[in-house]
Amino acid sequence: MTRRPHPVAARQLVDDLARTSWHDKAVWHVRAKRDAAVSEVADWQALRHHAQAVRRYGLEHLDELIAQFAKNASSHGVVIHWAPTAADLRDTVGGLLKERGVERVVKSKSMLTEECGLNPHLAALGIDVVDTDLGERIVQLRQEPPSHIVMPAIHLKRSEVGATFHTHLGTPAGETDPTRLTRAARRDLRQRFLGAQAGITGVNFAVAEDGALVVCTNEGNADLGAHLPPLHIACMGIDKVIPRRADLPVFLRMLARSATGQPITAYTSIFRGPREGAELHLVIVDNGRSRLLGDPELRAALTCIRCGACLNTCPVYRRSGGHSYGDGVLPGPIGAVLGAARAPETHGDLAHASTLCGSCREVCPVGVPLPAQLQVLRARAASARPWWERAGLRLMAHVLADPVRAERWGDWLSWAHRLLPKRAARRMPPPARHSFRQLARARRQRSTTAGPTTAGPTTAGPKK
């Protein structure tokens, strides 16, 4: 499928004025909840700096930490699989399920498996995968990708969820009550959990020191999926490792407060090994992460803990929607960085899906310098920009390099403004009759002939 560039894809939401207002408000509401939760932590900035330092340390020592983690986890009976690419993850998971004749799988939220295209692969193998996070289940039934890292169905209104459930789960037509809709989904999911032969989960943190896997959810769906069937397959990127168990509370606090404004996620499960008579497999995926690790200008993006706060605060995301960033990449500022870094030739335009306002960097619990990274990515993909943009900027640089030349061109362009079609002229503020430099010359002349003046209007107050 060819991907539409962000400015084009954004129009699906932004051209719908009322829906854009609604989406902006819904997402901003979560940013406001984050602000309230953060204001309760007296030492938030200290915690943030600590978290950033631990994550940076983790990157510097990733090779040792990941080896230490794998050794400790396997000593508890976790079977480790290494997946250098997305295809390796698909083959590994598909192979594990096929070997055991698994046909029905429940899966909790994992952006990594979205990144690697796991669901379509398993479907092609004839395996039925049911997403069990409520938001993910909704978008799965609608055959849409998630539009947010932590709230996959934030782009949908209640009435749309009601219509989807009416079609797929047989809820009454016109039902929009969130509680009744959730109960309907739960009834359906309970049967899926009980009938599942395997559960797939993501991983939020992997503790190197003791080989523990940490999975956070608000619905307990990962726990049901991991505990009911005899096979649990967890999938994680190499960037999920943290050094010590003592670091975990720092990240649990920051993750929940940044993501949804909760003090902690409702369910935080620590898996150390398989339960009796069951198997626990862990697929550790690289898929471009080690290349990013070798990129000094961008590697801090690997410290991301996937809280989604940068999405909620991003004024562009709130108006363009998560689907404008494309399939298989995370949406929002972090998605723009990771997407454009992984595939500059196809996703380089994402580096331009930002005003560089800086809010994402400020809100980030681990201080990823997202705006600076977007600028780096813009520079790297500069040759792929449209010809008129490249030519325009080169001409602009030539003109502005010399003040005299700039003034000549400025006079000419100011005159030419009147030739613009009306619509274009409205989008461009009209030039003044004389430039500041010309007014300044006149003023200097006046002051040398007449001495110092007390210029300035004598009226105060707004003129309408």
């Binding site: 954004a10 331009h352 809010s359 602009m396 640089a397 502005l400 003044a432 430039s435 200097r444 707004p462």
Partner: protein, 260 residues
């Protein structure tokens, strides 16, 4: 005190009155104002933010040489100030390194009055409900104020614009619920993503629907807002507003000019 006044490219052509207002106010403060003919036409920000730092050429060197005799340079644009402050030194060519590292410090207009001149109040009168729009680069790069994302435990910086404007007689300062949301300009962003950009501008304006005047240290934000504005508040830069407030009032005395 010898102070440079640097008027950036778009203000030069689209809003020269902003530069003139800043000039008048600085003169009324008793400063020796240098408006250099040799100053480059542009600070170079558009090239770096669009991913072409190589097109910056020697603009940082030109800037440093034009104002080498000044103790400070004032810009009626916080965004350009942030760019010069953070990027000129890093991107200067080796041959000009000395000139650029020795360049005088740069200040946005009211930050100069607050930080360099030490003014804590402004005389004059301005009878209006005034909304303040903090430009993103002034706020989040120059830390002119505390961003709404900050949370407890960090440095709580004073916004010189809010602090000084609030002292003007008759002026009622209004801050919207979303205190520091971006106006949607973003330079090249407004060209490459015109629809999202315009939508952001409309939303930003509607956040200020109850004020008479919308003021900002950043004329670029105001110019962007003006392209979608239909009715609504009057748009003024801080320099224009301070000048209008001063009117015929006696000029403020500068306590003890000092440049950090």
């Amino acid at each position: 005190m010898r102070v440079g006044l640097y008027v950036p490219c778009f203000v030069d052509r689209l809003a020269p009155e902003v530069g003139m207002a800043a000039w008048t106010v600085l003169e009324r403060l008793g400063l020796d104002v240098v408006v250099s003919e040799d100053a480059p036409a542009c600070c170079g920000q558009p090239f770096c933010s669009s991913g072409r730092p190589q097109l910056l050429g020697d603009l940082p060197g030109d800037f440093a040489r034009a104002f080498r005799d000044c103790e400070a340079v004032v810009l009626p644009s916080a965004s350009c100030t942030a760019f010069i402050h953070h990027h000129h030194e890093a991107s200067a060519r080796a041959i000009d390194l000395r000139a650029v590292t020795d360049a005088p410090p740069v200040f946005a207009f009211l930050d100069f009055l607050w930080t360099a001149l030490g003014l804590r109040a402004l005389p004059g009168r301005f009878e209006a409900r005034v909304g303040l729009h903090p430009g993103c680069h002034g706020l989040r790069e120059l830390r002119l104020g505390t961003p709404s994302e900050e949370g407890p435990g960090g440095p709580q910086e004073v916004d010189p614009a809010a602090a000084l404007l609030a002292t003007i007689d008759g002026l009622e300062l209004v801050l919207p619920e979303r205190a520091d949301e971006c106006c949607g300009f973003g330079g090249i962003f407004s060209v490459t993503e015109p629809h999202v950009s315009a939508r952001m501008a409309r939303d930003r304006l509607s956040a200020f629907s109850s004020v008479d005047v919308l003021v900002s240290e950043d004329p670029s934000c105001l110019l962007h807002l003006s392209t979608v504005k239909q009715g609504g508040p009057r748009l003024m830069t801080t320099a224009e507003l301070v000048l209008a407030a001063l009117g015929a009032a006696p000029s403020p005395t500068v306590p003890s000019p000092m440049v950090p």
